[in-house]
C-alpha cells in the first residue's frame, strides 16, 4: 500500500524545511538546506499539487514560498483571534497608492489624495513592513520614493504586483497615469474627434 503513496526524498525534505521555517523562503534558501543536487522547483510544484485539496496550502508570494491555512477555512480559525492591525482610511489609501504606483514619492501620494500625508501614516505602513523607501527620484530635490515589500505580497496573498486587484483595468483606463498625462491624452482625443 505504501508503495503507490511513496513520496520522493526531495519532496519530503522541501516540505519539512518549509514547514519548520519561521519565514517564507526563496528557492535558493531552500536549496541551502536540502542540497544543490536536487530539483527544488519540481518538488515545490508537486507539493502545491499535493496540498491543493488539503486544509493547508503551499503558496508562492513574490519569490518566496510558505505554507498557510486554506482561505475557505477562515471561519474555523478566526475564533479568539485578534484582528491584525487595523489601518485607517488614510493608511489604506496610501498603501493602495504605493502598491499601484510604485515607486512613488510622497508628493505624488499627496497629489492623488488631495491632502497632506500625516507623518504617522507612512510610519505605520513601514512599521508593518508593507512599505519601504525605494531610492530617490532623480529630479530636483531628489525626493525619496516608496514601494511595497515581500511582506506586503505575502500578507495580502499576492503572487506578484500583477495580481493586485484590478490593476490591468486601471492601467488600461489610464487611471494610474498622472492627471497631466491623462489630460493631454484627452486633448489629443478631442482634437481627433473634432477633426
Amino acid at each position: 500500500m505504501t508503495d503507490e503513496r511513496m513520496i520522493d526524498e526531495t519532496r519530503r525534505a522541501v516540505e519539512a524545511v518549509l514547514f519548520a521555517a519561521d519565514a517564507p523562503m526563496t528557492v535558493a534558501e531552500i536549496r541551502a538546506y536540502v542540497g544543490d543536487a536536487v530539483d527544488v522547483r519540481a518538488a515545490l510544484d508537486a507539493l502545491v499539487e499535493d496540498y491543493a485539496v488539503r486544509g493547508i496550502h503551499l503558496v508562492k508570494r513574490g519569490d518566496r514560498w510558505h505554507f498557510e491555512t486554506a482561505p475557505d477555512l477562515a471561519n474555523f480559525l478566526r475564533r479568539d483571534r485578534e484582528e491584525p492591525r487595523k489601518l485607517s482610511r488614510a493608511g489604506i489609501e496610501t498603501l493602495a497608492i504605493i502598491a499601484y504606483h510604485e515607486p512613488v514619492t510622497r508628493a505624488e501620494i499627496e497629489a492623488i489624495r488631495g491632502v497632506q500625508i500625516s507623518k504617522g501614516t507612512l510610519d505605520v505602513l513601514m512599521e508593518a513592513r508593507w512599505a519601504r523607501p525605494a531610492g530617490r527620484r532623480e529630479v530636483p530635490g531628489r525626493p525619496l520614493t516608496y514601494a511595497t515589500t515581500p511582506e506586503f505580497l505575502s500578507h495580502f496573498g499576492l503572487q506578484s504586483r500583477r495580481d493586485l486587484p484590478g490593476i490591468d483595468d486601471l492601467r488600461t483606463a489610464g487611471l494610474l497615469d498622472p492627471v497631466d498625462l491623462a489630460f493631454e491624452g484627452l486633448e489629443v482625443e478631442s482634437d481627433a474627434d473634432s477633426a
Binding site: F67, T69, P71, A74, E93, V115, P165, L176
Partner: protein, 241 residues
Amino acid sequence: MTTETLTIDIDGWDGPLDLLLALARTQKVDLRQLSILELVEQYLAFIEGARAVKLEVAADYLVMAAWLAYLKSGLLLPRDPTVEPSPEELALRLQLRLERLNAMREAGARLIARDRIGRDVFRRALPEGLRVVRRSLWQAEIFDLIAAYGRISARTRPVLHVVANRPVMTLETALERVSAMLGSAIEWTAIERFLPGEAAGAYRKSALASSFVAALELARQGKLEMQQQSAFAPLYLKAAP
C-alpha cells in the same frame, strides 16, 4: 441638498478632495458623467451649511470653496477665450483627480478585503525554526607560524647576535682605506668615491659614516683638506699639499 449632510463634522473628511468625492457619489452616476457644476454647488452649499452651524471650517476647505466659486462663474459666464486655462479644462482636471482618488479608494478596499495573513489565512504559529550552525574556519599560514616563533625568540633571547650580524665598516678599516686612496687624489674628489664600489644598503651607509669620521681624523692630522659649498652639499676631499 439634504440638510443631514450639512450637520456632519468637517473632520470626517480627509481634505476637500475627499469631501468632493463623497458629494460626487451622491449624484449616483459614473464619475465620467459627473456634473461638475452640480458638484460645485453641492460643495459650496455644504461649506455654507457647515459655517452656519458654527463649525470651524479649515482653511484648505475655504480655499477650495473660493476656487470652486471662481470655477462656477467661469462655467456659467460666456467664455472669454483669452483666459487660460479655460474653465472647461479646470473642470476636466478636477474630474480626472476625483476619478483617480476614487480608483485608489476602491483598490484599497479590494486589497484590504483579500484573504489576509493573520485574519483569513494563518501561518504556522510555532515553527521549529531552521538552524544555521556557524563554524569558524581558522586560518593561518606557515609563515605566520614561524614568524611568530621568531618574534617570541627575539623577545626572550639575549640580543648579542643583533649587532654581530649587521654589515659595518669599522673606523680602523675606513682610516686605512681613505689613507691609502688619498695618495692618488690630488684633485677635489667626492667622499663617495672613497667607498668600496660594491658597497650597498646598510654597509654603504656604515662605510660612508666611518669614512667621514676617518676623513675628519686625517684632516686633524693635516693629511687632507675638506671642502663643502653648503650644508648637505657634496663633500670633497683631496690630499694635503
